[in-house]
């Protein structure tokens, strides 16, 4: 395991989020019926921050929820550690809302597929959009993001690590090369 490059630091990361917030508002023509839903773990923190950015821009707060997709994954048996199932915390009705799903890294698209299934079980949103901090390619499903912080071409033996102040103590994004 070796850190190959730092892609974002604290400042560039927060600028990316601010730009995404503007884009979300532009596309949805304001905050009406707009809700953010972050995918655990790091998507949840990013959704909260995007919510704060939108609040700063529009002076209006919008609902922010957290989605746990563990029960909807298609690769549960491939994960040796057996991830802890955590709660979905969406305390608003998503029916007829415009939902922006938020995640840290878009890779195969399988997480987003699971999140869409999970979301459908909670109600019928009017639209679902996708915002990610990093798009690293290698899609295995027909999924694309509506808002992207940064596109980073990567190799399959690399991983992208998003570290955030809340769980990790600092804001940065790095490419890690795995030992082959």
């Amino acid at each position: 395991m070796r850190e190959k490059a730092k892609i974002l630091d604290k400042d560039t990361l927060s600028r990316s989020l601010m730009r995404i917030a503007h884009e979300i508002l532009e596309k949805n023509k304001g905050t009406k019926d707009l809700c953010l839903v972050g995918i655990r773990n790091r998507g949840a923190y990013l959704a909260k921050r995007l919510g704060a950015c939108i609040q700063k821009i529009e002076n209006e707060s919008i609902p922010v929820g957290i989605l746990d997709i563990t029960l909807y994954r298609d690769d549960l048996t491939l994960i040796a550690s057996g991830p802890l199932v955590r709660k979905t915390e969406i305390d608003f009705d998503i029916t007829d809302k415009n939902i922006v799903l938020v995640d840290d890294v878009l890779y195969t698209g399988r997480t987003v597929r699971a999140a869409l299934d999970a979301l459908m079980d909670l109600g019928r949103a009017r639209s679902v959009q996708l915002a990610v901090l990093i798009d690293r390619g290698h899609r295995e499903l027909p999924v694309r993001a509506d808002y992207v912080g940064k596109n980073i071409p990567t190799a399959k033996n690399e991983t992208v690590e998003v570290r955030l102040e809340e769980p990790d103590g600092k804001d940065e994004v790095a490419i890690i090369e795995k030992d082959s």
Binding site: L71, Y72, L76, T77, G82, L84, V85, D121, L122
Partner: protein, 318 residues
């Protein structure tokens, strides 16, 4: 929590660590949210088959497991042994192997012999969940009791929990004692002497025969059902005598100038171990226990399915 679940079976709480019990409770907490949705279903066990194999009559445990499995999208088959080949003399292991050959994934079993679940688990590669074996253990009942307590009081560590009633014949008592003591609660068992098994103190509990004294110190009481069908009326010729001396009544509770939680695993014998006023009163969490039972059993089914996948993977890797 860094604990990993790697067991294919849940046989009892005696052989679980504090962290493993904590993991089940934490997982159950997440599953509770699923039952509050409009669509009370997640696809976690889609394509898996759960067989309920009950050698003893049971309604609430079987239905609770069935509901739990269905909320995880598993397929459920119920086998009541009265109407099965068991009546023709098939052994438990043979029944189990046949169910395994049908490519079922989890057997939930209740059996009147202590240790039956462990024996079946050893003979099979698929998961076995003990839904009560003789006088031995009833782990999911204890887990849902502990889950409910934790939900109500915020912790288990340091609580005074009393278990009242037929301790000698109770697998619910035994599983509760293992679980509660591992999580740091102080447990007192209270019953007439003939319903307390010898050397129960070695499980780390206090023994008392004075219910009023026990209630004074208890944060919660688990009231066990008097199992008249098990001892054929030997221990208690007079049910009213038990009610008078050990029954949980409004009068007894109103003497305590504090809050107390009253639990009961059901089915209730109203007027024998508990009065109707208490069972339906403000201290009672009996129906919440039933609701929590679904979340706990969902967590258990989910975890043993994962544990089974892992043990299979290790085998093929070798």
């Amino acid at each position: 929590m860094s604990t990993v679940w790697d067991k294919k079976d849940l046989l009892g709480l005696e052989n679980l660590s504090k962290d493993e019990i904590g993991l089940i409770l934490a997982t159950a907490e997440s599953f509770k949210e699923v039952s509050s949705r409009e669509i009370k279903k997640v696809p976690a066990l889609r394509g898996r088959t759960v067989v309920n194999l009950f050698y003893e009559p049971s309604t609430r445990t079987r239905v609770s497991f069935e509901v739990a499995a269905k909320r995880l999208s598993a397929d459920v088959i119920n086998i009541a042994t009265e109407t099965s080949s068991v009546k023709k003399g098939e052994t438990l292991i043979d029944t189990g192997k046949n169910i395994q050959a049908l490519k079922a994934d989890i057997i939930v079993m209740r059996h009147n012999y202590s240790g039956a679940a462990a024996m079946l688990a050893r003979a099979l590669e698929i998961s076995v969940v003990n839904a009560g074996d003789g006088w031995h253990e009833h782990p999911t009942q204890a887990l849902l009791d502990i889950f409910t307590l934790k939900e109500k009081l915020g912790r288990i560590q340091g609580l005074n929990v009393a278990i009242v009633g037929d301790i000698a014949h109770s697998r619910v008592a035994r599983s509760n004692i293992w679980g509660l003591t591992k999580l740091g609660a102080k447990v007192t068992v209270c019953a007439p002497p003939m319903l307390i098994p010898v050397a129960i103190e070695e499980m780390g509990v206090n023994v008392s025969h004075d219910i009023d004294d026990v209630l004074k110190d208890a944060d919660a009481v688990n009231v066990l059902r008097m199992q008249f069908e098990r001892d054929g009326g030997q221990a208690f010729p007079e049910q009213l005598e038990y009610f008078k001396n050990f029954g949980i009544t409004k009068e007894r509770l109103s003497k305590l100038k504090k809050d107390i939680i009253i639990m009961h695993p059901g089915p209730l014998n109203r007027g024998i171990e508990i009065s109707s006023e208490v069972a339906d009163g403000k201290h009672s969490v009996i129906l919440e226990q039933v609701t929590n039972g679904i979340a706990v059993r969902m967590a258990v089914l989910f975890l043993v399915a994962q544990g089974q996948d892992k043990s299979k993977k290790y085998e093929t890797a070798d």
